[in-house]
């Protein structure tokens, strides 16, 4: 099995005048293709910072991020954008759909960026897969929270990513909707064989992945295989 994400001695420090705030201290871990992993920890523990660095959205103060064999450390922002378009999918807590685009267009954008053909058909299929075939021409403000998150999931999978990063994907949804969105996320992930990195407060959700990294004060305090895997191993 190949390594999809390799994090080596990752440190992030924010400078504010004379003050230096280190929010991540020499973090190390690696994920293999098809892994599902949750990063959990209390507020301010550094989990979202870690997600941002892993996905190449931010630059580390020191250490390395190797994503799908590509070392991101010294890349320009535009090079990292290219990497994201090629290998990465995102699902955000607040959906982050582009408000001026319809649901269908939101899903089409990553494909269009890659210069693919039959973009509309592919996006339409993905929307159908998330149960929103009839809502393609609706704008985000015309959709419910759950629907928006489903569009977001369809968009995340549209570029067939090798790794998917999800930041509190059910954090803004009611329980019932959240459960349905979770299910959809895991189903699609399984179908596509994508590596999944999930940041969440929700331990119940975390238990659905096969690995949980606990983080506190910027340090990894535990990195364990979940019962799900243990049961499978048994």
């Amino acid at each position: 099995m190949s390594t999809i994400l390799d994090i080596q001695n990752l440190t992030k420090t924010y400078d504010s005048g004379d003050r230096h705030l280190t929010v991540l201290h020499e973090v190390n871990f690696a994920l293999q293709a098809g892994d599902t992993c949750s990063i959990v920890g209390p507020s301010g523990s550094g989990k979202t910072t870690l997600l941002g660095l892993c996905a190449g959205l931010d630059r580390a103060s020191s250490g390395s991020v190797i994503l799908n064999g590509v070392k991101l450390d010294n890349m320009s922002e535009d090079e990292r954008a290219q990497v994201r378009n090629m290998y990465v999918g995102f699902v955000f807590q607040n959906f982050q759909l582009i408000p001026t685009l319809t649901a269908l267009e939101n899903v089409m954008v990553p494909l269009e960026l890659r210069g693919e053909r039959n973009v509309q058909r592919q996006a339409q299929e993905l929307l159908a897969r998330v149960g929103l075939a009839e809502r393609g021409d609706h704008y985000p403000t015309q959709l419910s929270g759950g629907e928006q998150q489903r569009v977001s999931i369809a968009r995340a999978f549209s570029n067939r990513p090798t790794i998917l990063f999800a930041d509190e994907p059910t954090g803004n949804l009611d329980e019932e909707t959240g459960t349905r969105v979770e299910q959809l996320l895991f189903d699609l992930n399984k179908e596509a064989g994508t590596t999944l990195v999930l940041v969440t407060h929700d331990l119940e959700l975390a238990e659905k992945t096969n690995r949980i990294i606990r983080i506190k004060g910027g340090h990894i305090v535990s990195d364990e295989v979940t019962a799900l895997i243990k049961n499978q191993e048994l």
């Binding site: 997600l51 931010d58 190797i66 290219q82 990497v83 090629m86 982050q96 408000p99 267009e105 960026l113």
Partner: protein, 856 residues
Amino acid sequence: MSDNYIHLPEKPKLNLRWLLLMAWRDSRRNRGKLALFISSIVLGIAALVAINSFSDNLSIDIERQAKSLIGADLVMAGNKPPEGEIATLIDSIGGERSDEVRFVSMVYFQASQGTRLVQVRALEGGFPYYGAIETEPAEASRSFRKGGRRALVDQTLLLQFNTKPGDSIRVGTMTFEIAGALHKIPGQSAVTATIAPAVYIPREYLEQTGLLQKGSRISYYYYFKLPANTDADKLVKKLEPRLDEEGINFDTVKSRQESTGRAYSDLASFLALVGFVALLLGCVGVASAVHVYIREKLATIGVLRCIGVSGKQAFLIYLFQVLVMGFIGATIGALLGSLIQLYLPQLFKAFLPVEVTVAVSWGAIAEGIGIGVLVSVLFALLPLLSIRNVSPIITLRSSVEHLTNQKDPLRLAVYSLILVFVLLFAYFQLGNWLRALGFTGGVVVGFIVLALIARGMMWLVKRFFPVNWGYVWRQSLANLYRPNNQTLLLTVSVGLGAALIATLVLMQRLLVSEVAISGSEHQPNLVLFDIQNAQKEGVVELTKAEGLPVQQLVPVVTMRLEEINGLTAADVRKDTTLGIPDWAFTREYRVTYRDTLIDSESEVEGKWTGTVNPDTEVIPISLEDRYAERLKAKLGDTLVFNVQGALMKTRVAHLREIDWNRVQSNFLVLFPKGVLEEAPQFHILMTRTQSDQQSAQFQRTLVQQFPNVSAIDLDLILQTLDEILSKISFVIRFMALFSITTGLLVLIGSVNISKFQRIQESVLLRTLGASRKQILTITAFEYLLLGALASGTGVILAVFASWALAVFSFEVNFVPELWPLLPVFLGITFLTVVIGIVNSRGILSRPPLEVLRREV
């Protein structure tokens, strides 16, 4: 790329089609906001297109009506009567010819018993050969020359003196029947007619009027209709040396066409620059609107960056939106400008020597659209450039600093491009680098001063915040320096508009008051000239008999300059390196003689002895210092004057400075006593009348007893000057209106743009229990402060600009009348408050929740 484990495939090419598609998609839900951006540049472009279209049409019309501009193929004019050499020269030209003798004189309107100084034109021949002297009745322009004592009188004079065709007018000693009202003379604009209203009489009666006295200032005009195969320009080129020698000026159709075109293109360039200021003002609005637009788009840009859009692609998506909006704004502006153009011939009517037709100028429209797109993109680039640095991390953390703080060299490049663009535009309008630099410098200084004052105001309010004031006032003051405040934008945009208007008001007042001050108190207000030697005692007696003081009685001798240090006019023309102007020899000098200096004169160099015995020494003379400078003459130099045939050798013994603003008889050349007493001369008498009635009564008696004596009524000059300045300032105000309206549009735009933030604040305040009245007061007071700051700064800038114009351009003393600035200040402040409140009305009148649902 460096040190990667796997190399990325080659960067995908910029997909232009997709970028355009994204730009279109993204704009769909924001077109209302983008419309604000459009509105900022519409008026500036409209002003430019209107003026440039008008200029284009004017050039075409000047060319089309070129011959009627001078009414002949060739016009010659000189100050000497057509005798000897001149007569031979004139007669040698051939073709058809009309002669005209022009001079100023008093005329007497018998119906109303009024008198007025006019320009008498004694005409003989078939002039005009092209175009027409327009009269009412129409046939009067021909019939007045067909025998009988008949005259054409300027229509404004007829109105002024309540006289009509058929009534009588007395010119000198001769009475003429008024054949018709004079509406238009070829090549003459209404303003020219205001300055010197004309009375045409047949040439054959000129001598009988008794007005051709020795020493009178008379011009002789010769109009030629040349044979078809004669080229006027070639002809004058051949004759030029002889014409120069005789002091005869000439004008051909081509030269008049060029000079007229130049004069009006100067005016059009000036007005185009005023329009350009409106456009620049609009561009400040564009930059501000795009800045706020991009701030609102940060989240979207963050998401796009997240899913792989490069900084350049994101930048291009919004650049395309700006391009399209700039194009739409510029096109609307160009269309509006083409409509406004329809009104311009009416606006400029008083100044135009030709009838202007109205036609669409595609060139001006294309230029306007091009400039609109270019300038809006240039200004929008400043906020747009920051898109390239938007970090995708904002999708995870909206609270982080969205933009990297790295210094962007491209911003400096954009600032430079804007400066270069303004400079080039100014150069193409003014045709002179120094002036273009001056204009650009002025605009930059204006912007910087206004920006500094706005920033200073924010700093002061923050630094000395009145913590003890009531909540409402404190909130208003705090609004001036809070994040996303409008202080800078409004101060610059409204301030520049206010500065323009206030400068115009100040300059008009200043120029009029300059003359008015001169004529105030006990200074003379009526000047009588052309008093012959024999009439001197009589005029003095008459003046005294009317109860008027004789404040000055000055003898005047006319002469010409023959040599400067042995150099004649021909020598000077041959050697241009001497730098002595030609007019020094061709002009007629009016010289006086006395032994002392008068109030308006002060000694600069040398000593004025004032008397001389011409038999024993070279005559010492005094020159005005600036005149001497232009003549390159210094103390001790020799000047030879031709005093009506007699050559007089003189020596520059004294230089004087003259205060020309005083109503005195001032002279460039002053002779000592003992030389000119016996020369042919006339006299000038200055007096002061106490009322219009007294002045009119005196002038009436004067014209009856001494028909050749003319009177200049200073009050009439003031009135005429005021009338002309009003016409000019109306044109300029019309153009400045574009700046002010743009300023207000920018104001409306910026209020709307910041509406979201205001709604949040107001809703919060209303939720916390603030009343509608309290929020209204906060809003009104904030705009009152902003409006007062902007218009106040504009007015102060205007005072400085007027000072610079007065001192450096008009060379007059700067004694500004400040009170007319008060209405400018109050008016603009009031408008700012009204617009601010009207725009905030929606926030005030609705329940908080409704507003939040609708707007947020």
